[in-house]
């Protein structure tokens, strides 16, 4: 009997300890924050957590194994080398542009090796290709050069597994398909456009993207006219979606000077040129999203462009601030947001990678700030050193780090999945259905901005206008508050209409009576004066008495 009691106590204690540890493990390894209505950073729940980190070493060992079908050479590097880009193909396979090792690695969604392309051949090309390097030297590409890649910076894969590789140092775009597990067959090459419209001497392409019609968009950091656009056959079409010039004090000053300066002075003035965008992604509907990697830029930091190159985000977005809102100076270095890559997930969430802080900023399709996660403490899992690229698959987010040479996989937490559910319902217009989910979000983070907005809208649709006003006030949105306020006022008027009418009629009657009496001089002024005087005297007496009493009491205490 005693033993039984003891064991039950022990079990209880064990259960308690287990409970405690489970509580401890629920705490995130790093702090997360979010922005409130005033763009102040406030602590928040983590929407994503690291579920895996993949360095691909086990998989890449096969490249050295002569018995393997992936065998390339005994000295083939088995780590990634400053990989700049990767792409999740429509068939859910990863294509990693291994920049430092001049190869393309292809894996499935669980990072099992599918292929590693090192040799690229098959194009019967008798033309001689010369490129101009950074110092202005003309270099002729020989046959061996054309069969390999040199610093592939970007990759895009279409639904037929056709690869488009930005072969940066050979200054070309390679369009190819798999021929064996280690080689690829080139279908087409895109070189520097030989036209006067293209006025840059080099063609250091870094990113590439292809739309549904097969048009190829290429980003060259030296070209600020937008993306260079080729047709499927390789002819140069034009430039696509140039950024605008950010209006700064210097730009305004230059514009004024330009009006009054002479020819010689004009030549010495700096030209106001827009900054080029750093990266892009194409969403399911065929819109191209771009990010600009200049620190703290506010003009065209993120764009969603239609096929004509117009930014339609200006019409559809609720918000135009992206990334961190303030730059931080720490140990003498200033850290400012630099948006380096963008990925649109299947559920239309916009994920933007900040190179400086290693943070991922997630927005919904209307660009409302949802979740912020990730950081740059490279010693810790989930921290980044050189975050270069971001991709999404389902709810997971993959970050490619160029110095840690690994891929970090983020998965949704419970909080994050609630946010996703709620915002999906919210943006589809199901405010009432979203209400319960928003309440779950608010239980975990009572200051979550979109949850407050969503709750206000849901309560408005449920005709709880007082509640809607309260939440709109908390979310600090005047339009939502105003709508709820108007409806509330309407309701109040309707419910108490008789009362208001009676009060108004009474006031009018009183007004007329007073006017009438005044006209006849029959206002009993003496009576009123006596009445007021009486009340005044009584009141004065009471006050005097009270003061005297208080004094006496105080005096008594003093004695």
């Amino acid at each position: 009997m005693k033993f039984k009691k003891l064991s039950s106590v022990l079990i209880a204690a064990l259960a308690a300890v287990m409970l405690m540890t489970s509580v401890v493990s629920a705490v995130d390894p790093y702090t997360t924050y979010n922005y409130d209505a005033w763009w102040n950073a406030v602590p928040s729940q983590a929407g994503y957590e690291v579920i895996n980190t993949v360095d691909l070493q086990d998989q890449l060992k096969q490249l050295r194994d002569p018995t393997s079908e992936f065998f390339i050479g005994e000295k083939e590097p088995i780590t990634l080398g400053d990989a700049k880009d990767f792409y999740l193909s429509p068939n859910d396979e990863f294509f990693i542009a291994d920049t430092g090792n001049n190869r393309i690695i292809r894996t499935d969604i669980n990072f099992n090796l599918l292929a590693c392309y090192k040799t690229f051949s098959g194009l019967d090309d008798d033309e001689e290709h010369t490129v101009v390097d950074e110092e202005g030297n003309v270099i002729e590409l020989d046959e061996d050069d054309l069969k390999t890649l040199k610093s592939p910076y970007g990759i895009f894969v279409d639904k037929d597994d056709v690869m488009y590789i930005a072969d940066r140092d050979h200054q070309r775009i390679v369009k190819c398909v798999e021929s064996t597990k280690t080689t690829a067959k080139i279908l087409n090459e895109y070189y520097k456009p030989e036209t006067e419209l293209y006025d840059s001497v080099s063609f250091y392409c870094t990113k590439v993207c292809v739309d549904a019609a097969g048009n190829v968009y290429v980003i060259c950091p030296a070209v600020n006219k937008g993306a260079i656009m080729f047709s499927d056959s390789g002819t140069f079409i034009g430039f696509y979606g140039q950024n605008r010039v950010e209006v700064t004090a210097e730009v305004i000053r230059n514009r004024i000077w330009r009006k009054i300066a002479s020819e010689e002075q004009l030549a010495s003035l700096t030209k106001s040129t827009p900054v080029e965008y750093a990266n892009f992604d194409i969403d399911d509907e065929g819109f191209i999203w771009t990010v600009t990697e200049v620190a703290n830029t506010t003009t065209d930091a993120v764009k969603k462009m239609n096929p004509a190159g117009y930014n339609i985000l200006e019409l559809t977005a609720d918000n135009n601030q992206f990334g961190d809102q303030v730059s931080v100076t720490y140990n003498g270095t200033t850290y400012a947001t630099r948006l380096t890559d963008i990925a649109i997930s299947d559920d239309k969430f916009v994920n933007i990678l900040d190179y400086t802080s290693g943070r991922i900023f997630q927005y919904d399709e209307r660009c409302n700030q949802l979740l912020i996660f990730g950081f740059d403490q490279e010693e810790q899992r989930g921290g980044f050193n050189n975050p270069n690229a971001i991709e999404t698959y389902g709810d997971n987010i993959y970050i490619l780090d160029g110095r840690n040479n690994d891929i970090t996989v983020f998965g949704l937490t419970e909080f994050g999945s609630y946010v996703h559910q709620a915002i999906a319902l919210h943006n589809a217009g199901f405010y009432e259905e979203a209400y319960d989910v928003w309440q779950e979000v608010l239980k975990r983070d009572g200051g979550f901005y979109m949850a407050l907005v969503g709750t206000a809208k849901a309560l408005y649709n449920q005709e709880d206008y007082e509640g809607a006003m309260k939440y709109a006030k908390l979310a600090f949105t005047d339009t939502d508050y105003d709508r709820a306020f108007e409806a509330n006022r309407q309701e109040g008027l309707r419910d108490n209409f008789t009362l208001y009418v009676i009060i108004i009629i009474l006031l009018v009657i009183v007004w007329f009576v007073i006017k009438h009496l005044k006209k006849k001089g029959k206002i009993p002024q003496k009576l009123i004066a006596t009445g007021v005087g009486y009340v005044y005297n009584k009141g004065r007496d009471a006050v005097v008495k009270a003061v005297a009493d208080a004094k006496q009491k105080k005096g008594g205490k003093g004695k």
Binding site: K473, F476, D478, E486, R489
Partner: protein, 211 residues
């Protein structure tokens, strides 16, 4: 009309009779400096009210920002004081008849419509939606321009100018106000530096004495 009115009745008379009210008041040598100061106090109150209260959609700042009394104090009391000083200084040079006491009284009386409409417009925002903001704008604009008209006639009566001269003197007064406020800012920063200088000397001496 019998101009045998109590001081507060004079305020009403002046406000509702812009053209002759001030002339009557000057003729009767009426107008109370106590009431004038009370009106300035009300001006301060109305500024506080309009910056801290009002419907949420109309005055969101009031629901989030920290209340700072200094700008409001400057906007009401300091502006009034500089106006009076500047107007008196300018008009003394321009052969105006008014003394400083009269300038202070006439200026304060002219502010009454502005104050009343300030209170009123802020109060009605509790019952207005954003679409109906025209009412808010209308009331505050009526108050403002009524006060401006009163101010013109007040200064005209106060200094016995013709209309052109009144406008010229008022423009000069505004310039004078700017000058006074600039000088005040300069003097204040100067005194701050002097203060900092002596404070530094004090701390230096303190360190030496202690060590």
């Amino acid at each position: 009309m019998i101009y045998d009115m109590k001081p507060w009745q004079w305020v009403k008379h002046v406000v509702f009779h812009p053209t002759e009210g001030y002339e009557d008041m000057r003729w009767k040598k009426a107008g109370s400096i106590k009431i004038a100061f009370f009106i300035v106090f009300l001006l301060f109150c109305s500024q506080v009210f309009s910056s801290r209260y009002g419907g949420f959609a109309y005055n969101m700042k009031a629901y989030s920002d920290v209340f700072n009394i200094v700008p409001i104090l400057v906007q009401s009391v300091a502006y009034y004081a500089t106006w009076v000083v500047s107007n008196w200084s300018i008009c003394t040079l321009f052969d105006g008849e008014g003394n400083m006491r009269r300038v202070a009284i006439y200026t304060a009386y002219a502010l009454v419509p502005f104050i009343v409409c300030n209170f009123l417009s802020t109060a009605i925002t509790y019952g207005l939606t954003l679409d109906e903001s025209i009412w808010y704008t209308a009331i505050s604009q009526v108050g403002l321009w009524w006060s401006v008209v009163l101010m013109v006639f007040g200064m005209k009566a106060c200094h016995q100018y013709n209309f052109t001269m009144t406008i010229v003197s008022m423009i000069c007064t505004v310039l004078g106000m700017v000058l006074i406020l600039c000088l005040l800012a300069l003097v204040m920063s100067l005194f701050q530096q002097v203060y900092v200088f002596f404070a530094t000397i004090y701390t230096e001496i303190l360190y030496r004495v202690r060590s």
